[in-house]
C-alpha cells in the first residue's frame, strides 16, 4: 500500500521501512483510540465528586504527589499514548480556561467515546456521529443556559460566593477546613477584582506555602509575603509607614555591558580607582536616603561594604527578591520599579503601613510581611501544613479562586451534584426524536453519555448507581425540577438548591463543549502510524 509508482512505472516507497512501523487503520484505529481515551477516563472516574478518592503519583525523581485534581494527575502521569495525550490536553485546557471541572471533562469525554464505540459497531460513520454529537452539545449548552440562575452577590454579601467555592473544595482533601479556605479564596478574589469591569487578575493573588503548622493556620494577608529576610542581621525587624525603594540594580559597582578594560599601570591610577570605588557605595546609599526611602528592596545582591553602609545609615534592605515578587510589591505598594539609582525619586517610592519579619517553628526560617499597602490590590494566601498538604491545598485553592473569578465574570450558576447533567440528558433525549436521520442515534447516545457523570458520582459515594440515577431522573421529570441531583454527602435531600451545591454555568458549558470537540477529533482519526521502538 505504501508503494506507489511514478509516471515511468518505477516503484517508490512512500513510508519508509514498512516493517518497522506499527500501523493501524480504519475501524481498528478508531477502536484503539477509543479504548485509550476510555482508559484515561477510567483512571479519573474514581476521583470525581466529594467522595472521590485521591491518586498517589510518584514522579521520575521519586517525589510523591497526592492529589485528586484531574489536570494534575494527568500532567504527572507520564502518558505515552498519543490519544491519551489528547485527553491530557483536554483537561489542561479546561484548567486554563475555567480552572475547575478538570476531572469532569475527561470523564465526560470518556463516556462520549464509549457511546461512540457502540455506534461504530452498528456501522454508523464516524463523521455522522461527530455531527450528531455537535448538535447534541448545542442543545445541552442551550438547555444549561435556560436552567441557570442569576446569582446575586455584592462586596458585603459574599455568602453565595463562599457557598460555591465550598462546593469546589469539598471534593478535595482540604474539605476539613473548606469553610475557612472558601472564605479566604473569596476574600482574596474580591480584594483584587475589578467589579465594574467584571475582571479578576489572578496573578495578583500569590499563594505561598511554608512547611509546618497546621492547615487551620492558613491565612489571608492583605499584602505581600516574601520568603527573604533582611540583608543584615541587625537591621530592624519591623518598620512602620515604610517608604519602599524598589530597585533592579545591584548595590555593586556598575558593570557596563560594552566590553572594556581598565588598565592599571601606575600607583596613582590604582589609588584613584580605589577612591572611586568607595564613592560608588556612598553615593548609592545616599541617593536612596535622599529620596526618603526607609526600606530598600533589591532584585540583586549587595556588596558587603554596601550592606554595612545601608545598615549603618539605618536603611533596612532586602536582597535577592525575585522578579515576580518585585512586581507584586510594586503593584501593592504603588511604587515604581527603578532600574538605576539616578532615576530614583520620591514619587517612585512605594508605601506600606507595616513591614515585619516573622520567624517560624524551630528552624531559622524567616519571612517578610509587607502589609497595609497603599494599594491593597495584591494579596497573599499563606498556607501551612506538611509538604504534600501544602501542594494539594495550593491546587485546591487555585480551583476555588478560579471559580470565584468565573462567578464575578459571569454570575450565572447551575446546580451541582449531577443535577445539571441529568437535566441536560433529559432535554437532549427528548430533542433527539425530532431529528431525522442517523444523527438521532448519536444525539441519543450523547444523552446517555451525560448520564455517566451522575452515575460516577453515585458510584463514588457508595450508592447503587443505576437505582439512584433512575430515581433522580424520574423525580426531575415528575416534579419538573431540574435541581435534583445525587445526594453524595448523605444529607437526606437530593434537591441541590437546598444543599447549596453550585457550579458555574460557564464551567459546565465549557466542559460539554471541550469534551465534544476532543471526541470529534478522536473519531476523525482513521489511521495511526507509530514509529517502531528503537
Amino acid at each position: 500500500m505504501a508503494l506507489a509508482f511514478d509516471e515511468y512505472g518505477r516503484p517508490f516507497i512512500i513510508i519508509k521501512e514498512q516493517e518497522q512501523k506499527a500501523r493501524l487503520r480504519g475501524l481498528e484505529a478508531q477502536k484503539a483510540n477509543i479504548s485509550a481515551g476510555k482508559a484515561v477516563a477510567r483512571i479519573l472516574r474514581t476521583s470525581l465528586g466529594p467522595k472521590g478518592m485521591d491518586k498517589m503519583l510518584q514522579s521520575p525523581d521519586g517525589d510523591v504527589i497526592i492529589t485528586n485534581d484531574g489536570a494534575t494527575i494527568l500532567e504527572q502521569m507520564d502518558v505515552d499514548n498519543q490519544i491519551a495525550k489528547l485527553m491530557v490536553e483536554l483537561s489542561r485546557s479546561q484548567d486554563y480556561e475555567i480552572g475547575d471541572g478538570t476531572t469532569g471533562v475527561v470523564v465526560l469525554a470518556g463516556a462520549l467515546l464509549e457511546q461512540a464505540e457502540k455506534l461504530l459497531e452498528r456501522g454508523i460513520h464516524p463523521v455522522r456521529i461527530s455531527e450528531g454529537y455537535e448538535m447534541a452539545s448545542k442543545l445541552a449548552v442551550d438547555h444549561l443556559e435556560s436552567i441557570s440562575q442569576k446569582f446575586e452577590f455584592s462586596v458585603t454579601n459574599i455568602e453565595p460566593l463562599v457557598q460555591t467555592c465550598m462546593t469546589t473544595l469539598s471534593s478535595k482533601i482540604v474539605n476539613r477546613c473548606k469553610r475557612a479556605l472558601a472564605e479566604i479564596a473569596v476574600k482574596a478574589v474580591l480584594a483584587v477584582a475589578a467589579l465594574e469591569r467584571k475582571d479578576v487578575n489572578l496573578e495578583l493573588i500569590k499563594v505561598e506555602g511554608k512547611v509546618g503548622g497546621k492547615l487551620e493556620d492558613t491565612e489571608l494577608i492583605y499584602g505581600i509575603l516574601v520568603d527573604k529576610d533582611m540583608s543584615h542581621p541587625q537591621m530592624p525587624k519591623r518598620i512602620e509607614d515604610a517608604n519602599i525603594a524598589i530597585l533592579t540594580c545591584p548595590f555593586e559597582p556598575p558593570k557596563p555591558k560594552t566590553k572594556h578594560k581598565i588598565d592599571i599601570d601606575t600607583v596613582e591610577k590604582f589609588q584613584t580607582l580605589r577612591q572611586q570605588e568607595l564613592n560608588y557605595f556612598d553615593d548609592m546609599v545616599q541617593k536612596c536616603k535622599d529620596v526618603g526611602a526607609t526600606l530598600v528592596i533589591c532584585q540583586w545582591g549587595f556588596d558587603d561594604e554596601a550592606n554595612h553602609l545601608l545598615m549603618h545609615r539605618n536603611l533596612p534592605a532586602v536582597r535577592w527578591v525575585g522578579g515576580v515578587e518585585l512586581e507584586l510589591i510594586a503593584i501593592a505598594t504603588g511604587g515604581r520599579i527603578v532600574p538605576r539609582f539616578q532615576e530614583l525619586t520620591t514619587e517612585k517610592l512605594g508605601k506600606a503601613g507595616l513591614v515585619r519579619e516573622k520567624s517560624f517553628g524551630t528552624t531559622k526560617d524567616r519571612m517578610l510581611y509587607i502589609e497595609h499597602c497603599a494599594n491593597s490590590r495584591a494579596v497573599t494566601i499563606f498556607i501551612r501544613g506538611n509538604k504534600m498538604m501544602i501542594e494539594e491545598t495550593k491546587r485546591s485553592l487555585h480551583d476555588a479562586l478560579c471559580v470565584a473569578r468565573n462567578l464575578i465574570r459571569n454570575n450565572s450558576i447551575v446546580y451541582g451534584g449531577g443535577s445539571a447533567e441529568i437535566s441536560c440528558a433529559i432535554a437532549v433525549e427528548a430533542a433527539a426524536d425530532r431529528y431525522p436521520g442517523v444523527e438521532q442515534y448519536a444525539i441519543r447516545s450523547f444523552a446517555e453519555a451525560l448520564d455517566s457523570i451522575p452515575m460516577a458520582l453515585a458510584e463514588n459515594s457508595g450508592l447503587p448507581r443505576i437505582d439512584t440515577l433512575t430515581a433522580v431522573k424520574s423525580q426531575q421529570i415528575k416534579e419538573n425540577n431540574p435541581y435534583c441531583g445525587i445526594d453524595c454527602n448523605d444529607v437526606g435531600t437530593n434537591n441541590m438548591r437546598e444543599q447549596n451545591v453550585f457550579e458555574t454555568l460557564i464551567g459546565k458549558q465549557q466542559q460539554i463543549l471541550l469534551a465534544t470537540q476532543v471526541v470529534k477529533m478522536i473519531l476523525k482519526i482513521d489511521d495511526v502510524i507509530t514509529p517502531a521502538e528503537y
Partner: protein, 527 residues
C-alpha cells in the same frame, strides 16, 4: 491493544485494593521500624551511610532515622514527610507521630477488610481527632502566671523528653542545662543563639552551660591571650588582598619596578584599612573572612586580638551577644557600634583551645559545651539536647502542659470511646478504631520496656474510668503510677501536633485508590 500501553515503559500503575494494600504495608513497615525506639526504654538504631567513609550514626531520634532511609514506597514517604514537619515545627515527638499514623492505618486496614468505605473511615477519624483534641484542651494545665511552677514544669518536660534519649543517665543535669538556656532566650524560639560545641573527651556529665560565648578559634600568634574590658569590632570584610571591585579592571605593567610599586600601593591600602580599624579604639577584631599574615602582624603590633574566619553563624551570634554591629566599612569610627565584654581569654577544653567571651552585654545567648566519650555519643547528645531545647522553647510560648507516660493517650482514648458510643452509623467503628490506635502508644511504650502491656493497659483503663486521675505507666517500677507525683510532663503543643499530623497523614494515605509510578529518571550516561 493500544489500551494496555497507555503509560511509558517502566511506569507502573496500581489500582484499588492493590494500591491501598501497597500503601498500608509501606506505611506500617515504616511505623514498625521506628516503633522500638519509642519511650524511655526504647532502643537505638545504627545507621550506616552509603556515602564515602560509611559513616555510622547511632540514634533513636525518629526524624533522624527516617531522614536517612532510602524509601521507595510512596506511602512511606508521606510518613517520613510528617516526621520532618514535626521536627521542624516542635522538634520532638517525631517517633510518636509516625507510630500513631501507622497504628491508625493498621486499624483502617481492618475496617477496609470489613468492607467499610475509606471515606467513612476518614469521616470517623476526623470526628475522633477533633474530640481527642478537645479532651486534651480541657485537661491541659497552664502555669504561666506562677514563674516557679512554670519553671518546674519546664524541668519536668525536659526530663521527660530527655529520658528517652542517650542523656537519660544525666537527665537532671541536662534538663537543668536546657531549661536555663531556654529561659535566657526570653520567649524567642530562635535557637540560633544557643550554641552547641562538641568536644570529645571527658564524660557526658562534664558538659556545661556557659553564660558567655565560646568561639572555636585560635588567637593569632603574638597577640594578647587575655583582654579585660574588651571592645570588639565584629566585621565582615576582606582582609586578604583587597580587590578592586570595579568591573574590568586589571593590572597591566611593563616592568618589574612597576609591579613592585603596585604591590606597594596594595600594601599601603591594606595598611590604611588596618589603621582605620585600629582607629575605632578597639582591642579585639573578629572577621568573618580570612585575615592574611600582613594585616595580622599589624594588629599584633597594635596589641589587638584578631580572630579570623569565624563562620557566618558565629559572627552573627557574636554580634548579637556583644551588642556590636557587623561592620564592613570603617570610615566613620565614631558611629559604629562596638561590642563589649568583660573578659576575653583562651580556655582549654580537653586538648583544644577555644576563645571565651565572658561578661557579655546581652544575656540572650549562651553556649552549651558537650563532652562525651566518642563523636557518636556527642552527635546523639546534640540531637537529644536539640529536641529538648525545641520543646522547651515552644513550651515557653505555649505554656500548656500535660502529664506524660501514656496519660494523654488514655485520656483521649476514653473521650473518643464515649464519642463512639454516641455516634450512630458506620463511622462509630472508625472512631472506636481511633481510640484503639491511641491506646497502642502506651502499649508500645510498655512493650519496649519489657513490661506486661496487656495487664498494664487494662489497669490504666480502669484507673482512667474515674474522673480525675493522673495515672500513667511507671516504667521504672513497672506498674501504674501517679504521673503528677513522678513529675512526668509533656508539652501540650507537641501532643497536639502529633495527634493532628498523624491523623492528617493517615487520611491522606487512606484517600488514595491508585498509585501511578513514573519511570525513574535515567542518569545520563556519559558516552
Amino acid at each position: 491493544m493500544a489500551a494496555a500501553r497507555l503509560l511509558k515503559d517502566e511506569a507502573t500503575e496500581e489500582k484499588g485494593d492493590r494500591a491501598r494494600m501497597a500503601s498500608f504495608i509501606g506505611a506500617m513497615a515504616i511505623a514498625d521500624l521506628v516503633k522500638t525506639t519509642l519511650g524511655p526504654k526504647g532502643m537505638d538504631k545504627i545507621l550506616q551511610s552509603t556515602g564515602r567513609g560509611r559513616n555510622v550514626t547511632v540514634t533513636n531520634d525518629g526524624a533522624t532515622i527516617l531522614k536517612s532511609l532510602h524509601i521507595d514506597n510512596p506511602a512511606a514517604k508521606v510518613l517520613v514527610d510528617i516526621s520532618k514537619v514535626q521536627d521542624d515545627e516542635v522538634g520532638d515527638g517525631t517517633t510518636s507521630v509516625v507510630v500513631l499514623a501507622g497504628e491508625l492505618l493498621r486499624e483502617a486496614e481492618k475496617l477496609v477488610n470489613q468492607k467499610i468505605h475509606p471515606m467513612t473511615i476518614i469521616a470517623g477519624y476526623r470526628m475522633a481527632a477533633e474530640c481527642a483534641r478537645n479532651a486534651l484542651l480541657l485537661k491541659a494545665k497552664d502555669n504561666k502566671q506562677d514563674p516557679d511552677k512554670f519553671k518546674s514544669d519546664l524541668m519536668k518536660i525536659a526530663m521527660t523528653t530527655l529520658s528517652s534519649k542517650i542523656l537519660s543517665q544525666d537527665k537532671e543535669h541536662f534538663a537543668k542545662l536546657a531549661v536555663d538556656a531556654v529561659l535566657r532566650l526570653k520567649g524567642s524560639t530562635n535557637l540560633e543563639s544557643i550554641q552547641i560545641i562538641k568536644k570529645a573527651g571527658g564524660s557526658l556529665k562534664d558538659s556545661f552551660l556557659d553564660e558567655g560565648f565560646v568561639l572555636d578559634k585560635k588567637i593569632g600568634i603574638g597577640q594578647p591571650k587575655r583582654i579585660e574590658n574588651a571592645k570588639i569590632l565584629v566585621a565582615n570584610t576582606a582582609m586578604d588582598t583587597d580587590k578592586v571591585k570595579i568591573y574590568g579592571a586589571r593590572v597591566r605593567v611593563d616592568s618589574m619596578a612597576k609591579v613592585a610599586e603596585i604591590e606597594g600601593a596594595e600594601k599601603e591600602k591594606m595598611k590604611q584599612k588596618v589603621q582605620k580599624i585600629i582607629a575605632h579604639g578597639i582591642n579585639c577584631f573578629v572577621n568573618r573572612q580570612l585575615i592574611y599574615n600582613f594585616p595580622e602582624e599589624l594588629f599584633a603590633d597594635a596589641g589587638i586580638l584578631a580572630i579570623e574566619h569565624a563562620d557566618f553563624d558565629g559572627i552573627e551570634r557574636l554580634a548579637l551577644v556583644t551588642g556590636g554591629e557587623i561592620a564592613s566599612t570603617f570610615d566613620n569610627p565614631e558611629s559604629v557600634k562596638l561590642g563589649h565584654c568583660k573578659l576575653i581569654e583562651e580556655i582549654m577544653i580537653g586538648e583544644d583551645k577555644l576563645i571565651h567571651f565572658s561578661g557579655v552585654e546581652m544575656g540572650q545567648a549562651c553556649t552549651v559545651v558537650l563532652r562525651g566519650a566518642s563523636s557518636h555519643v556527642l552527635d546523639e547528645a546534640e540531637r537529644s539536647l536539640h529536641d529538648a531545647l525545641c520543646v522547651l522553647s515552644q513550651t515557653v510560648n505555649d505554656s500548656r502542659v500535660l502529664l506524660g507516660g501514656g496519660w494523654p493517650e488514655m485520656v483521649m482514648a476514653k473521650e473518643v470511646d464515649e464519642l463512639a458510643r454516641k455516634t450512630p452509623g458506620k463511622k462509630s467503628h472508625a472512631i472506636e478504631a481511633f481510640s484503639r490506635s491511641l491506646q497502642a502508644i502506651p502499649t508500645i511504650i510498655a512493650d519496649n520496656a519489657g513490661l506486661d502491656s496487656a495487664e498494664l493497659i487494662s489497669q490504666l483503663r480502669a484507673e482512667h474510668h474515674k474522673d480525675t486521675t493522673s495515672a500513667g505507666i511507671n516504667i521504672i517500677s513497672g506498674g501504674v503510677g501517679d504521673m503528677d507525683k513522678l513529675g512526668v510532663s509533656e508539652s501540650f503543643k507537641v501532643k497536639q501536633a502529633v495527634l493532628l499530623s498523624a491523623t492528617e497523614a493517615a487520611e491522606m494515605i487512606l484517600r488514595v485508590d491508585e498509585i501511578i509510578t513514573c519511570a525513574p529518571r535515567k542518569r545520563e550516561d556519559r558516552m
